[in-house]
């Protein structure tokens, strides 16, 4: 278990240890962990590891027991208020001792003052439920401690018969002027840089997934809705060998298998469905509808086998983010960024330099011309399906390892993939990459201005705006229409 570093943790975990280990009678836990006045069942969880910090607490524990009072019989209608006033802003927790809190009912029939004990804790039994006010007298606060919110020295609360209610008066170490010193947030990193890095990571994954979509469109004109399921297939195949089955292999090996399966699936899909459809001269619209049908079919087959919950790989599931000054990233995310960048550049080079790559671009450019110049178009298309499937599956593994594996993951990405490929210029490999980066980064940056649950809307709005200016996409070439 990683050691705590954040402030305030100390009190929480230590107090908790204390309660669990000593099974205090229910009325004694001034902090009121899970406390209720009518029904109280305490079945303490066992097996907590002993923390070294606990040693520091020995004097505190002694003090705690000194103030333990016997369990009092409670009346059915009596209600209880309780709380503790502890300054947790300093190096050590300082309880505010001897602070007076006046509690009065709204109708004036009840009024009593309670004083905090050596723990800073206080508790008062009220005759019945109703509306009350609790007022802390700031003058009785010990020197060096001040209310964090000076205008909230009085709290109004209502309480049911028989209920128990905790009230909190947050305090902090006081500065020289007697007011609370504000604890500045020490959150490291620059928000803008962090969002940029997160966006690049998301964008590169979208890019890897969408190259296949873009190339298939480029060579055959088909908008393949089932492409998202190839992404899911890749992630789930790797999950099969790394988390699902009892025996596991390394995630890298699993990713390799998943990539192969994705490629095979892409090729088989083309051979079994799309090649015959092309031969029979099916229209693009009917092929699009077929792909939607397959998308739904595959998605629910995966759901049937995998179940509806989010899953995680066994390897590298939890990695502590490392601080790089301006931003922080988990090591696996750094790997994903560089790895996908390398794969994408390699794909781009292959497309530009190799024979097959040139053939692909030729088919995408002008299919009839390519065919008449001796290129085996069907073979090229098959290769595009295989390569696209393999890349999508690999992208799925990456997405699964940085987020989670679920039956709908590819389908959720599909909209963003469409956006990315359209934005970059349909049918171009580098365009898909560029479009993906823009979409990924915009999704993150939009959260600066819009509520986060609308981040996709913002990114897609950008898509519309860019396409209004450049209808062919960022890298797409202008085409004459009509």
């Amino acid at each position: 278990m990683p050691r705590a570093s954040a402030r305030g943790t100390f009190t929480f975990s230590s107090r908790f240890d204390l309660l669990q280990r000593h099974r205090l009678p229910s009325n004694v836990d001034h902090e009121g962990v899970g406390r209720a006045s009518v029904v109280q069942r305490c079945t303490g969880p066992g097996g907590f590891i002993i923390r070294t910090r606990f040693l520091l607490l020995v004097p505190l524990v002694a003090a705690f027991f000194a103030f333990a009072t016997p369990v009092a019989a409670q009346e059915e209608t009596a209600a209880t208020v309780r709380g503790s006033i502890v300054d947790k802003t300093g190096e050590e927790d300082v309880p505010a001792v001897g602070v007076e809190i006046a509690i009065a009912s709204a109708d004036g029939s009840f009024s009593e003052t309670v004083v905090t004990d050596d723990e800073g804790s206080w508790e008062l039994e009220l005759p019945s439920g109703g509306d009350y006010t609790a007022t802390l007298d700031p003058a009785t606060l010990p020197e060096g401690i001040a209310l964090r919110n000076p205008d909230r020295a009085m709290l109004e609360f209502d309480i049911n018969d028989g209920a128990s209610r905790a009230l909190l008066f947050p305090v902090a170490s006081a500065g020289e002027d007697g007011t609370a010193v504000s604890t500045a947030s020490t959150g490291g990193g620059n928000k803008y840089v962090q969002l940029l890095v997160d966006g690049i990571k998301l964008g590169l994954i979208i890019g890897m997934c969408s190259i296949g979509l873009s190339l298939v469109f480029g060579t055959t004109g088909l908008v393949n809705f089932a492409h998202g399921e190839t992404v899911t297939l890749g992630a789930v195949t790797a999950f099969l060998f790394n988390g699902w089955l009892d025996w596991t292999i390394s995630i890298f090996l699993a990713a390799l298998i998943a990539t192969a399966v994705g490629g095979l699936a892409g090729g088989a899909f083309d051979a079994a469905v799309w090649a015959p459809l092309r031969r029979k001269g099916a229209s693009l619209i009917s092929m699009l509808v077929v792909s939607i049908g397959f998308s739904i079919f595959f998605r629910y087959v995966i759901l049937w086998r995998l179940g509806g919950r989010a899953n995680f790989y066994k390897d590298y599931a939890l990695q502590r983010r490392r601080d790089f000054g301006l931003f922080s990233l988990a090591p696996k995310d750094i790997f994903i960024i560089f790895f996908s960048l390398a794969v994408l550049i390699a794909v781009g080079l292959l497309l530009q330099r190799t024979r097959t790559g040139k053939a692909m671009r030729a088919v995408a450019d002008n299919r009839d011309l390519a065919e008449s110049s001796g290129i085996d178009v069907q073979r090229v298309i098959r290769i595009v399906w295989i390569a696209g499937g393999a890349l999508a599956a690999l992208g799925g593994v990456l997405f699964g390892s940085t987020e989670s594996i679920g039956w709908e993951m590819g389908f959720r990405l599909l909209l963003l993939m469409f956006a990315a490929t359209t934005l970059g210029g349909l049918g171009t490999a580098y365009g898909a990459l560029l479009g993906s980066l823009v979409v990924g980064i915009f999704i993150q940056y939009v959260t600066l201005v819009l509520p986060t649950d609308m981040k996709n809307i913002g990114a897609l709005l950008t898509l519309v705006l860019i396409l209004l200016v450049r209808p062919q996409g960022i890298l797409g070439r202008k085409e004459r229409i009509g």
Partner: protein
């Protein structure tokens, strides 16, 4: 070609008119319709009044049931008249009594809330077993037609359409308040009971449901107060909230924030997120940057992703106080992690009773139904919902939902106490007014068809990732 188009248009318009007529629940939206459907709406408006009258005198059940039957016929006639007008057949009312009480399940087999499904299905199947073992309802065995609710309206609506066609008298579900809101109008306006074992959103209390919506889960007003008290008692002075964007999430956020701030806490950050988002990097980074004592996650299955992000960002349960609610406090959350100890120390609230700890017999019976149960959340509530409807059908002497619904609230209070179907059935048949105390608690339904007393469990994950019950809070509305 043009003719086909015109015909298509005509059919579409006919559908639209039916939808408009059926979709209006108070008559105020039906003004743009033709006279006939407005008349229908008025006829429908009368039903709730009759319902109120019936609530006052539960003794004269049978006469009332007949009365109601007459009302139903009138409605059915109106329906037919409307159908003739539009040239389309209206769906037959699912609430009509045909001798067999059928329960339809709209419970989560898939989606964000799928972990709540198995205990609810097990509770439902156990209830059917117990009811039929005691001789069924009105001389016939009850039937259980399970269906999936998913986590969005699409799946649930398909299930409801399918089950309405199979003459279901009462729907059990959904688990998610957001999903229930997408089907409540369709179900209650078909004259069928909508009974949820797990909806906790405060939105249902005042919902215009023709008196047909019920729930055995308490409103989140109670859970919110309990969660706020838990946090304040733990000394959490400032809190960040990450909240699922639906009726449950925002409802519970309000119910928690109110008492938390009133009693001294400060909400330094709140984020309402889309559970289907591709990633939660931005949300998580903001929550961590807020640097609060506590982080509260009100969500469903996506909590595992958010928690992963928090742990990776150095704000996991071992560093901060992390709180959850009934939507995510299940053993399933810990099993998402290869090393379940990472969730140790996360605390939260769950309306209900400690099935695993206190109801050994009930737990044993559930395990017999489904040996693979991991969680028991809302199993008791599901069981009680079905038993209560079955008792209502016994009292009404029919499986007609519109006759059963007005009796349900009274069956949970003021009368001779009984706590299982067989005993209660015998009492009702002997003409005694009963007070059904269920597995999940005393129920004691208020006029809104929901419990007025509730027990909220305080839960905490231990080092093995197992939820431990750390006390309970009794709340009243």
């Amino acid at each position: 070609m043009r003719n086909t188009l015109m015909r298509l248009l005509a059919v579409l318009m006919a559908f639209g008119l039916i939808a408009a007529a059926c979709g209006s629940d108070g008559g105020d939206t039906a003004t743009d319709d033709d006279g006939d459907s407005t008349a229908t709406t008025e006829a429908m408006e009368e039903t709730p009044e009759t319902t109120e009258a019936m609530e006052e005198t539960p003794e004269t059940t049978e006469a009332m049931a007949e009365d109601d039957g007459g009302e139903d016929e009138a409605m059915a006639e109106d329906d037919e008249a409307m159908a003739e007008d539009d040239g389309e057949e209206a769906p037959t009312s699912g609430g009509a009594g045909d001798g067999v009480l059928r329960f339809g399940g709209i419970l989560p087999e898939t989606g964000n809330l799928a972990f709540l499904g198995p205990p609810e299905f097990a509770g439902a199947e156990l209830a059917v077993q117990d009811i039929n073992a005691a001789g069924g309802v009105n001389g016939a065995d009850v039937e259980w037609l399970p269906g999936d609710s998913g986590d969005n309206g699409d799946v649930a609506n398909q299930t409801v359409d399918r089950l309405l066609g199979e003459d279901v008298d009462a729907f059990i579900g959904a688990a998610s308040s957001g999903v229930s809101l997408t089907v409540i109008d369709k179900i209650t306006q078909a004259g069928v009971i909508h009974f949820s074992p797990a909806n906790t959103s405060p939105a249902f209390t005042d919902y215009d449901d023709n008196g047909l919506y019920f729930r055995t889960a308490p409103s989140d007003v109670v859970q919110g107060a309990a969660l706020a008290d838990l946090m304040l008692g733990d000394g959490a002075e400032t809190a960040a909230f990450l909240v699922l964007n639906d009726s449950y999430g925002t409802g519970l956020l309000d119910a928690t924030k109110g008492p938390y701030e009133a009693n001294g806490g400060t909400v330094a950050f709140e984020n309402i997120y889309d559970p289907k988002a591709e990633n939660f990097d931005a949300e998580i980074a903001d929550a961590i940057a807020a640097d609060t004592d506590a982080i509260v996650i009100i969500g469903f299955d996506e909590t595992s992703k958010i928690l992963t992000g928090l742990i990776e960002g150095g704000a996991g349960p071992s560093e901060k106080m992390i709180y959850g609610t009934d939507g995510n406090m299940g053993n399933a959350l810990a099993s998402s992690f290869d090393d379940p100890s990472v969730v140790a120390g996360m605390r939260g609230t769950l309306p209900g009773v400690d099935v695993a700890g206190e109801l050994a017999d009930f737990k044993g019976a559930l395990d017999a139904v489904d040996p693979e149960l991991e969680d028991y959340s809302y199993s008791a509530e599901t069981y009680d919902a079905m038993v209560l409807v079955a008792l209502g059908a016994v009292a009404a002497g029919t499986d007609d939902a519109t006759a059963i619904a007005p009796l349900l609230n009274d069956l949970t209070k003021d009368g001779e106490k009984c706590n299982n179907f067989a005993d209660c059935k015998a009492l009702i048949e002997a003409g005694t007014d009963i007070d059904y105390d269920g597995v999940s608690g005393p129920l004691e339904f208020g006029d809104a068809g929901e419990p007025t007393q509730a027990s909220i469990l305080i839960l905490e994950f231990d080092e093995t990732g197992t939820l431990q019950v750390d006390g309970s809070i009794q709340g009243q509305i």
